[in-house]
Subunit: 620 residues, 2 copies
Amino acid sequence: MSPKITGELLRQLRQAMRNSKYFSEPIQAYIVPSGDAHQSEYIAPSDCRREFICGFNGSAGTAIVTEQHAAMWTDGRYFLQASQQMDNNWSLMKMGLKETPSQEDWLISILPENSKVGVDPWIIAADQWKHMSRALTSAGHSLVAVQDNLIDAVWTDRPERPSTQLRYLGLNYTGISWQEKITALRAKMTKRKVTWFVATALDEIAWLFNLRGADIEYNPVFFAYAIVGMNTIRLFVDLKRLSVPALRDHLQLDSPCKPEMSVHAYPYESVYSELQAICAAHSPKDKVWISDKASCALTQVIPKIHRTPIPYTPLCLAKAVKNATEIQGMKMAHIKDAAALCELFAWLEKEIPKATVTEISAADKAEELRSQQKDFVGLSFPTISSVGPNGAIIHYRPLPETNRTLSLNEVYLIDSGAQYVDGTTDVTRTVHFGTPSAYEKECFTYVLKGHIAVSAAVFPNGTKGHLLDSFARAALWESGLDYLHGTGHGVGCFLNVHEGPCGISYKTFADEPLEAGMIVSDEPGYYEDGAFGIRIENVVLVVPAKPKYNYRNRGSLTFEPLTLVPIQVKMMNTELLTQKERDWVNEYHRICREVIGAELERQGRKGGLEWLIRETQPIA
Amino acid sequence: MSPKITGELLRQLRQAMRNSKYFSEPIQAYIVPSGDAHQSEYIAPSDCRREFICGFNGSAGTAIVTEQHAAMWTDGRYFLQASQQMDNNWSLMKMGLKETPSQEDWLISILPENSKVGVDPWIIAADQWKHMSRALTSAGHSLVAVQDNLIDAVWTDRPERPSTQLRYLGLNYTGISWQEKITALRAKMTKRKVTWFVATALDEIAWLFNLRGADIEYNPVFFAYAIVGMNTIRLFVDLKRLSVPALRDHLQLDSPCKPEMSVHAYPYESVYSELQAICAAHSPKDKVWISDKASCALTQVIPKIHRTPIPYTPLCLAKAVKNATEIQGMKMAHIKDAAALCELFAWLEKEIPKATVTEISAADKAEELRSQQKDFVGLSFPTISSVGPNGAIIHYRPLPETNRTLSLNEVYLIDSGAQYVDGTTDVTRTVHFGTPSAYEKECFTYVLKGHIAVSAAVFPNGTKGHLLDSFARAALWESGLDYLHGTGHGVGCFLNVHEGPCGISYKTFADEPLEAGMIVSDEPGYYEDGAFGIRIENVVLVVPAKPKYNYRNRGSLTFEPLTLVPIQVKMMNTELLTQKERDWVNEYHRICREVIGAELERQGRKGGLEWLIRETQPIA
């Protein structure tokens, strides 16, 4: 991986920062956040501005350019990758380390007095704007909204915003019609005396209308906004997309008979003016709900007196708790996905001795096998297929220049998943095709102990996921080891592979309590720079537990693994496992064999079936 | 325990709320916080306003009185106690339960439009004022500062503010002179470009000047404020207290030779006007550090442009990390304390069969035995001495009307501690003098497993205490049980038994990372209403750990118990313990026997020694 050469680009950007065409006065620093106007984690090529300016293409990172400096903040998953993708013009700011200053502290430490710091108000979230603005102001500087994006100004071959075909999902996939979802939303609005709700997150809009698109790779979403009132539903979207009659029917577009349950379509760009008009036309008592992660530009359209920013919208909360149809779909998707992976591992075992399989060809094979499964749509994120030292790059993606050959001598980590019409998958397995070292096995076993500790945890109703994070680390900590990422994230149902408002991470305190029906990942790991990476990830469903007692009638919860792919016994030092942990492994493998075995048999996949049977032998 | 009759008092308070003598317009609600002007947890009798108005005398709780309602918020430790101490005029608001509204939500739900909510600005913290004011304003109400306290207006026999004798501590107790502490503080101020620091917390002021008082029962503090500048040190205190020459020497009072290291004394009440004068006299660039928990009244003296509120002051952080002298003192204090407790348990075993020992007499005996130890000053909090169902009242304090007799049939819980000149103790033991039931043993063993899980935890440097909280609960959760309080709090050294900024609790996210030298409690519990209470509490010291590996050179930490009192084996179901847990118990008891045995022998306390030897037999 060779770094992007950015000297000339930075020169042009700094010129734009001084150009009065964009802002009346020169600005001394310009912030380039990661996101798009919807604060999406994955973004369309037209929105990859941070990558364009610094070269780093990981999913999280913020670049800041001043007259003298250029710095980029990212988290532990990306330290290695960012250092390889950025040239010497850039300083890497390692978030989470004690010595790393926050963006605002860094700015304050280097800016001349009374500096202006610019940012595009459409791609900074309202809560981030507020935080940054307050910090800069207290130090005598100011944060200013630069309406024209300065990256776009120097990005001559910037791609267009995508506008892919939309598909609607029937009740057999969604379980609930969009009309029912609107009714539930309005009930919550009535309860909280809110008159308008502005939806800005693309997955929330897709979920609400039971629609899917393909505007952003890996995420079946489409560019849109929605404004829901008590009697109207406005959808802001490229209008050309709604020309299909079946889609117009699905949305009851401009239907005169039941106007409050009819969607009115508006051009995507008109959301600003339309929201302005709504706010102007209504009484000052009208409250408007908008996510505090919505763009600063759109948030500030709503006069403060109307505005009620919320950390999690009612759609985000409703979407997180899967209904019976969605759970059934997720289970089906995971069975198909596991069948494809069993077949992959059987194929790898056969091919690796020939020394012809690379990280890229293994990832391609995984995609090919998944694509043979029913209702396959695409991958749910770029496959992390990594051998030996590449495994230590937490969000590694093999490129021709980094591509390693799989061998009998190195640990292989594959983190992959797919979108099926019935559900989304995300699974990581770490395997060795030869003989792992004692140290590799030891580390793997600590990670496994952490994985089991979370998966088997029983906890009271109302517990937030972050309270489970340390369970995943205890065995690693006891040996002086750790990993620099969270333990789990919410997973959508044929939607984004990362979704809120629940998760399992030491980093957040504002996650919503876990509830039966929520789906999260359980993925502790261990990474030894320059040597290997280990991660064991299942997607798990929150289910009621029935322990012996029931303190204050609160009820208890636990997890049920949806991912059913064997965990390699060869990588375990079973002496380090307790009897309870060995029982967990055996029971998990029994279910894998039973459920996935039947599917492989049905599909006539003998290689995968043989591999599955061998890999699910009970341990003593 | 019979509830306080409050009908007439509430009538008088509501009259005051309408009286234009106190505020120009009638106020529709009046908030009575728990604290004093220093946000102390324990308060002097003159500050017990919430207790005066509602009858509930626990350490945490806020009362709110409106024209129609009176409600009091407290946490899980106090649900039972509060319900017994308050009459029907009051609604108990159980904090932490999902259905309980916050104070602001409750106010908004019941107040007529445009209401005024009053509060004494000296006893509400600045951050609480801000939060409450914002919530009320957004709903069309307002929070107003009522300068005269309305409780004082109806409290005819309110006691005077105490002014006890001050004592100063030598280097053999403190390890560091107050001059060195001032120098360290000024260095931090210089680093952060802060010109003034306002100290408002009583324990921080006592710590800074190596002084102790006895103004508040159990807490060796004295009423004072301090303002430290780069060249001046102002101490605001009842001036009569400084007439002792040795004290004046200790403080270098008004010394002309080294003015920047000389304390200038001012009357306690003059802090407001003096701070006003300081702020008026200085450049607008001068920054003033003040805790965000300081009173709203004092905080608002500082113009916003000067004010830099901080969650934890540099004194709070410095005080939390004990130096070698303090650690040595804490160890000595815990040895003496354990000797007294061994003697107590030996005495109880002998006396209980006579059916003459009550909760109160047992607590008195514990105090008597502690008072025989060297450098004893007093108790560090009211002894919780509770039998059977009283044990389920988490912060129970025996009163003549609730006093139960200790017997061979019920579980006995004693949570007690003392102030010695060399350190502060806090220990809870739960014992049975007859034969505990299988269920009592089962619950005790889960609590013990949680206690051990925290005490033996190894975790990376930089870990915050709240990340360890779930370790204490895992065994209880697995059986469907839990407890409604945090797991640990910071402990002062001959200072407050509860101190920040570290602790072990699911409730906070803003705690500071644990560091070697910090001292916290480890006290999981289980409470069965109407039946029994279990808690096992040690005070533990954060120490470096040396696990096998050292990921990224971060280093690891663990805990060393300072409390050395046997944990009753009779209460354990040892079959539920893992081998590792049994080893922990045996090693802990070995150390108890060795260290406390030597002390008991030295003191010639044969009864205690025999008891200790018997109670520290290894388990198989």
